[in-house]
């Protein structure tokens, strides 16, 4: 773990954006306490005011403080992306791992389905899912989680395929280990690194997906603020209050940029050549995310 972080820390640019990403999450977690005003308090007499000392980013059509809404929107976005990312991981990784390990007809069928899904752009699949589950925050989480699923299934599958014929897996089979045990202790244990990398690389896609859906009116519903949804509202007041686009546009672009750069940089630090022992140490930390019960036992050497 320390080695990866040390290698990552040597990449100044990556580190800078990593800190920025952490700052976004810090803002997201503390949003309730750091908003200068109540993000939902309307004051029609102060509608569409330009930036001032009292309202740094001005006010929207209902007189709500834009800065407070941008800060709360950070929390909404962080919540949606984190939950949908976990959703994809929790469903996609076991499926990919099992079909990769078992192979055969099941593998062929699942791969055909993911192939079919990958023909369509993620945003389209997300929109189709929203039709069924309805436009809401839960809807966005389900839509994003499911639409990104094929990618996670594929990455877990190819990783599982690569370790299936390894000697330690055969040894475990010979020793009579049960198959959930082999999957969890030996396969998952060895494929966690590409999955961790993949999930950091997928983060920007989740953020863009969430805000695009909300921009289209198919995601987070007002009055809950979300960057895409705020931009959608701001578009109607471009002539009278163009300042409304500044906050959400900058916040959204910076969040995606920092997520992108951090993912790239971590990707380089987790170089496949260097995986193995070094990666092993972070696995027990992340494993409870996937399978809380099985991982309480110590890992056999």
């Amino acid at each position: 773990m320390m080695d990866i972080l040390r290698r990552y820390a040597r990449d100044r640019v990556g580190l800078f954006f990593g800190i920025m990403l952490l700052a976004f999450y810090f803002v997201a977690i503390t949003a309730q306490w750091i908003t200068p005003q109540d993000p939902f308090e309307t004051n029609l007499s102060e509608g569409l005011e330009p930036p001032s000392a009292a309202h740094w980013l001005g006010t929207d059509q209902f007189g709500r403080d834009t800065l407070s809404r941008v800060i709360l929107a950070t929390q909404v976005t962080a919540r949606i992306t984190t939950i949908s990312l976990l959703f994809s991981l929790l469903i996609g990784v076991p499926i990919g791992m099992i079909v990769g390990y078992i192979g055969g007809l099941l593998d062929a069928v699942v791969m055909r389905i993911t192939d079919m899904m990958l023909i369509f752009p993620t945003i389209m699949i997300a929109i189709i899912i929203v039709v069924v589950v309805g436009p809401s925050e839960h809807g966005v989480v389900i839509a994003l989680g499911l639409s990104q699923l094929p990618n996670f299934i594929r990455i877990a599958r190819s990783a599982a395929l690569s370790v299936r014929r390894e000697l330690y897996v055969e040894a475990a089979v010979a020793a009579g280990a049960s198959w959930p045990d082999i999957l969890l202790r030996h396969v998952l244990h060895n494929i966690s690194s590409p999955i961790i990398v993949k999930s950091t690389l997928a983060l920007p896609g989740f953020v863009l997906g969430a805000s695009s859906l909300s921009y289209l009116g198919l995601g987070v519903q007002p009055p809950t603020p979300e960057w895409g949804q705020m931009l959608h509202e701001a578009k109607d007041f471009l002539t009278s209050a163009p300042h409304l686009i500044i906050g959400p546009a900058i916040a959204l672009s910076l969040f995606v940029l920092s997520a992108n750069m951090t993912g790239d940089s971590l990707n380089e630090s987790l170089d496949p050549k260097l995986k193995g022992r070094r990666i092993k140490r972070i696995v027990p930390r992340l494993a409870p995310w996937f399978f809380p019960r099985f991982w309480s036992r110590p890992i056999s050497p």
Binding site: I119, I123, M124, I127, S212, G228, P242, A249, L257
Partner: protein
């Protein structure tokens, strides 16, 4: 080659039928009473009941499914809940508009990315390369609705150079095509650069240099031709993404295309129209995929015998 095309067309038919079946059951899974949706919230129960009978919504699911499939195969996708026009008549012109937007954007994205990507690879790790990389990174990280709104503000509201919505004159095309095309170009440029750096590092480039072939010929003939294979695949995938992005771009610029129609129909809960939009979008994606596959085999004859 002909066998391959027929094979793929057969696949398309099967995929289309599967898709229709999938959509039928998907739309049945949507909570809510479809008859009530058609009648409206305030309609009396007797009217809802008569609509249910008229549309066959009281029939068993299997009967409904066979009726639906028979109608669809005859080109009848039903009527829109609101305008009462046949879905096919609404979708057709909209699809054409989306094709215009996506086509021009793709053309712009391909030409910009081939030029910038090659330049970036030629001047690898020098200021020009860094500038281009920064541009493409900025493009990847900025969603098109942000660039779109900024464009509307500067060129439409502030400078008043360009119209902010619609598609009646050539001026209406500039902003949507630039927004969508440049956003795609950003991703493409990265890919073209990587492929070109790979191609320019090969032995035949060194040979060409040592023979004294002019640098421009080396890059655009020897390099680009060899980098083209992965680039074609990527462009093909990118065309799908451009169509997906068109759904968002159309909503920003009030472009009367299929994407906006789909989003509007979802918001107004016009289910027959939504179903038609999704079906035609999906068929376009499958068709595009097929064309890319064929193009790829044409560009690399080594694959033709597979």
């Amino acid at each position: 080659m002909l066998k391959l095309i027929l094979n793929r067309l057969a696949f398309m038919v099967v995929a289309g039928l599967l898709l229709l079946t999938f959509l039928f059951f998907l739309f049945h899974a949507i909570p809510g009473d479809p008859a009530r949706l058609i009648a409206g919230d305030s309609a009396p129960e007797t009217l809802v009941e008569s609509i249910r009978q008229a549309y066959g919504l009281d029939q068993p699911l299997v009967t409904q499914y066979t009726t639906y499939m028979r109608r669809v195969l005859q080109g009848d996708f039903g009527l829109s809940n609101f305008s009462r026009q046949p879905v096919l008549q609404i979708v057709g012109p909209r699809l054409l508009n989306t094709a215009k937007l996506a086509g021009w954007s793709m053309l712009l994205a391909m030409s910009v990315s081939l030029l910038l990507g090659s330049l970036s690879a030629m001047y690898w790790d020098r200021p020009l390369d860094r500038g281009i990389t920064a541009f493409s990174l900025a493009g990847i990280c900025t969603p098109i609705f942000v660039t779109g709104i900024l464009g509307i503000y500067f060129f439409g509201v502030h400078l008043r150079w360009l119209p902010i919505g619609g598609m009646s004159t050539w001026k209406h095309y500039i902003m949507p095509v630039m927004t969508l095309g440049l956003a795609q170009a950003a991703g493409f440029t990265r890919m073209v650069r990587a492929c070109m750096i790979d191609a320019l590092g090969r032995d035949f480039i060194t040979t060409a240099r040592s023979k004294g072939v002019p640098e421009r010929t080396i890059v655009f003939k020897h390099g680009l031709r060899n980098a083209l294979l992965p680039i074609i695949t990527f462009f093909g995938l990118g065309l799908g993404h451009t169509l997906g992005g068109a759904a968002v771009a159309e909503s920003i610029f009030n472009w009367p295309g299929l994407g906006r129609l789909m989003v509007d129909s979802i918001l107004t809960r016009d289910l027959p129209l939504t179903q038609g939009c999704i079906f035609f979008f999906a068929m376009v994606f499958i068709l595009v995929n097929l064309m890319v596959d064929l193009l790829y085999r044409w560009a690399d004859p080594r694959l033709a015998n597979d």
